[in-house]
Symmetry: C2
Subunit: 303 residues, 2 copies
Amino acid sequence: MNGIEIVSTGYAKIEKTLDNQQLEQMVETSNEWIVSRTGILKRHLSDKSSAFLAIEAAKKATQNQDLSQLALIIVATMTPENNTPSNACLVQKALGLNHQSMMCFDINVACSGYVYALKVAQSLLEENQYGLVIGSEQLSSIVDYQDRNTCILFGDGAAATLIKKSQKLFFSYLDSDGNEEVLFSKRNDYLKMKGQDVFKFAIKAIPLSIDHVLNQAKMTLNDIDYVICHQANERIIKHVYKKYQCSSEKFYMNLQEYGNTSAASIPLALAKMNEQGLLQKGMKIILVGFGGGLTWGAILMEW
Amino acid sequence: MNGIEIVSTGYAKIEKTLDNQQLEQMVETSNEWIVSRTGILKRHLSDKSSAFLAIEAAKKATQNQDLSQLALIIVATMTPENNTPSNACLVQKALGLNHQSMMCFDINVACSGYVYALKVAQSLLEENQYGLVIGSEQLSSIVDYQDRNTCILFGDGAAATLIKKSQKLFFSYLDSDGNEEVLFSKRNDYLKMKGQDVFKFAIKAIPLSIDHVLNQAKMTLNDIDYVICHQANERIIKHVYKKYQCSSEKFYMNLQEYGNTSAASIPLALAKMNEQGLLQKGMKIILVGFGGGLTWGAILMEW
């Protein structure tokens, strides 16, 4: 099959955290309220740009790897360091890969960025070629820490996946509906969202996406080892696994520790799962993105 | 061949212009200096966002076209209206195409954005599918009109191309070298450039790109009807056609009227050429992008 394989993963370590107790001092909220409505205990905040974080993640993912066949670097981000150069070009430079021929570019699909980027990479890569697909966000640069509806949700993060073209399973479904009311952020303004509308959108978009790729693969959720959703909110993910009458273990979650890191959340989950030894060769996983645009979609692949 | 065909084109009309005489009143420069160094006579400036311009271009390119098989919208821009939603999603909404399944996303490859986006679209589209590939920039939002090195160069613009998967010729070469010194713009800051270094980069990158796709196609410049370079500077393009000992007519230029519109310049040239009846079925053209990143590349295709 015309698929891809994830060879290695890496993520940026961000020391500084913002926990619910600290948020209680900043806006009118409480730890209990945040935990019950979102499942989030803390977020990581970076003083450094999303390009800096992408570079750190990329260096970790590419440690001891042969990069001679690397043909592309894609960074999914809605908080790039620059208008130009792209984060991807800065990663290329930092890895010492200038003068090796490759495509480097950023894509913006908000929280669906990683699944979109993975599909774009899969379609661009030719036999024997490798790609680096990164999700990286400094969301703290567009979060209003006086707005209790959003500042409790978002965190900074970056994770990278080194992929190669392979014959493994690969099914994808990516979709979008233009909408500037539910979730939006002007270029020089804060992120704003209508929480209930996002919730309603998400609990529709996730099962729709999962069902699409399962149908393509002629599989059921029983054939899948892990579903890794964009880590927006525990209530969204709980709603989905209950709908499928499926065990919570199948739906990986680390949003407790990181909050919503937008395009970084899925590769960050993959990198953490990989570090924890949860992913074994041959396992079947589904990645599900959803977010601003509105955009959503899923990829069913083999680890 | 696994190529694409450009079905129709459209561009945004921007009434407001800024000519060299007006610039003489704003910064220490002169019409003679600007014309001799750049070839530019005027630029168009828009009060409206790059999403607004992309929508206008998209509406014109899709007039009277069957969009039922449209599977993706890509907007190449380094001046998006929002952090989220993407310009592409706003185009989808404005065309009344919400609820039709498609991928919508923005890519940022600066002035190489259109050729990169066209390659991405070509690789994503499946048989019988259509795509909308747009370059759209409101560069006036990041140009410092007190900096005479840059404000004389850039203009706003947007153009859209409706493409479909086809068996026509398609050869591509896309490359990059991370660099944040020659041409750069922090997210909330003006565009800055070292003009001489950009010139040196461009006169190397353009022939390199042209030669790459000609070699792939086993053709020479004699087989090509038009070379459409990113419209950065007349001196750059002149240098290239002189190097090839080639007539100036083969290298289309409209930078006199528009200045450098970054990702919009190549589709804008295509749309104007199309309007002028210069492009005939079966003609072979080469599109050449180069710019911030640094990024560059070419596509050889059949009209």
